[in-house]
């Protein structure tokens, strides 16, 4: 049997949601048999955080997972986290930025100028760790779906190649939009919002701030806990995989003279409005009734 790959999870400014999210993977026990954690804040590990902080210069890992926003002055037990990151980054084969904060800075970067993701500050590319850019893979999400973390680690351990986009997100998971697989697509096609929070009906793109049509992610294809997603339970997608997350006014669609200010990814204004004009001309009664209400 091949030697187990050694994983290291290093939290920066983090809320631990990504670490908790990983615990929801249905085959976590199987995954654990295939890998060793040098350290993970919640899972059985070979070392404690104290031991790593005291002796990190003698340690190495195969895959480094970074969670949380990087902060220039952050240190633990007198060890600058930046120095420790750099040490492990040099020797590891792959770096995964787990979650939106480690990738772009996310919500934590709003708290100070000295905070960012590993390679990006929002959309802006940073130079600080550019030597490690080619070995880095971004797994944004707030939190990231556990299936993505487990599958990417497994693929890397098996020597598989992962096509990446310009933010170094694996296209297999981020080459789609959250709109793909959304159970409300018929309402989108006919431009019907008619949504009440928590209900099954209506598309939330027009009034309720849904960012699914222009946010990368497979939330509606790889469901959360195998059954659900934000849009399926009647909540708009907040675009948590994107560099501008979190935006303000998350439950409201910004509009210019009634026209959504942001349109589906790559769709021109003229193309969108032409199609919308045709779709809106027809009233389809089925979309104006509650799905579960009694038929007359």
């Amino acid at each position: 049997m091949a030697e187990k790959k050694l994983l290291l999870w290093l939290s920066q400014l983090a809320c631990n949601a990504n670490a908790h999210s990983l615990l929801n993977h249905p085959s976590l026990e199987e995954f654990q048999k295939s890998f060793d954690w040098l350290y993970h804040p919640l899972l059985p590990s070979l070392s404690s955080l104290d031991e790593i902080l005291d002796n990190y210069e003698e340690m190495e890992c195969d895959i480094l997972l970074i969670d949380g926003a990087l902060c220039a002055g952050l240190s633990k037990k007198g060890v600058r986290m930046r120095d420790m990151l750099e040490h492990f980054a040099k020797s590891c084969s792959h770096i995964l930025t787990v979650g939106t904060c480690a990738t772009y800075g996310g919500i934590f970067s709003a708290g100070g100028e000295d905070r960012s993701g590993l390679h990006f500050d929002g959309e802006k590319r940073l130079d600080g760790f550019s030597d490690f850019f080619e070995k880095s893979i971004s797994l944004p999400g707030c939190p990231v779906h556990p299936e993505i973390v487990v599958s990417v680690i497994t693929a890397l351990a098996q020597g598989g190649s992962l096509p990446l986009d310009s933010y170094r997100r694996p296209k297999e998971y981020y080459g789609y939009t959250v709109h793909d697989g959304c159970s409300r697509n018929e309402y989108f096609e006919y431009k019907i919002d008619r949504h009440d929070f928590g209900h099954l009906e209506g598309c939330m793109f027009y009034e309720h701030g849904c960012r699914g049509t222009y946010s990368a992610g497979s939330c509606n294809m790889i469901l959360w806990n195998g059954v659900s997603s934000k849009t399926r339970v009647g909540e708009p997608c907040h675009g948590c995989t994107e560099a501008d997350f979190p935006t303000r006014g998350l439950w409201r669609t910004e509009k210019h003279m009634g026209i959504p200010a942001r349109l589906p990814l790559g769709v021109s204004k003229r193309a969108y409005l032409s199609l919308a004009g045709v779709a809106k001309a027809f009233r389809i009664d089925r979309f104006h009734r509650r799905i579960l209400e009694d038929e007359e």
């Binding site: 210019h256 003279m257 009634g258 026209i259 204004k269 003229r270 032409s274 004009g277 045709v278 001309a281």
Partner: protein, 194 residues
């Protein structure tokens, strides 16, 4: 195929002139065919009914205006300048091709039953509406126009122009239509601007 489409456009253009002279309801298929020097039977090869011809006519007018407004939208001008360009396009069309605006105001807007099956909602004027929407959207995005409901802005803009052209058509305006362009554009800008 191309030839058939060109012929259809020729029929639409001829029919629009006849509608403006005789009125839509008083113009028959034989009248339209006669005015084009063709037989009714031949005309039916292109349009199965007068309603179908009317629907093609409104799509043609919508496209005629849309092509011109699209050029305005694609220019780098300010919203204030674009308003004046759009007003000019509308008034010049009313002056040079009065049968088009006449059909739009007197037939399309006043006889919805002709358009209920095939031109639902604003489907047949979609090209024109799309360009107006793009003009409004970009004006708001550039912070030149005040953000509001589309129809409140659309009604103010197009209702105003339609009213002026209607007065022009009834020969009730004391001055030439184009002499009002500047003041009307200023009024629209003041009403819609931030």
């Amino acid at each position: 195929m191309e030839e058939k489409r060109d012929r259809k456009i020729q029929i639409v253009v001829g029919a629009l002139k006849l509608f403006a002279e005789k009125g839509y309801y008083r113009s028959t298929i034989p009248d339209i065919a006669g005015s084009l020097g063709m037989s009714s039977g031949n005309l039916y090869n292109y349009f199965h009914s007068k309603e179908e011809l009317a629907q093609e006519a409104i799509r043609y007018i919508s496209s005629y205006l849309a092509i011109r407004i699209r050029e305005v939208n694609e220019s780098k001008k300010s919203s204030r300048e674009k308003i004046e360009d759009i007003v000019r396009i509308y008034f010049e069309t009313a002056r040079d091709e009065p049968q088009m605006i006449d059909f739009f105001l007197r037939v399309y807007l006043s006889n919805r039953e002709v358009f209920s099956d095939g031109c639902e909602g604003m489907v047949c004027v979609n090209e024109f509406i799309t360009e107006i929407m793009i003009f409004f959207e970009e004006g708001v995005a550039n912070e030149e126009l005040r953000n509001q409901d589309f129809f409140t802005a659309f009604g103010l803009f197009m209702g105003y122009l339609g009213g002026m052209v209607f007065l022009y058509g009834e020969r009730m305006l004391p001055k030439a239509l184009e002499s009002y362009i500047e003041d009307i554009s200023e009024n629209i800008y003041r009403a819609l601007g931030v």
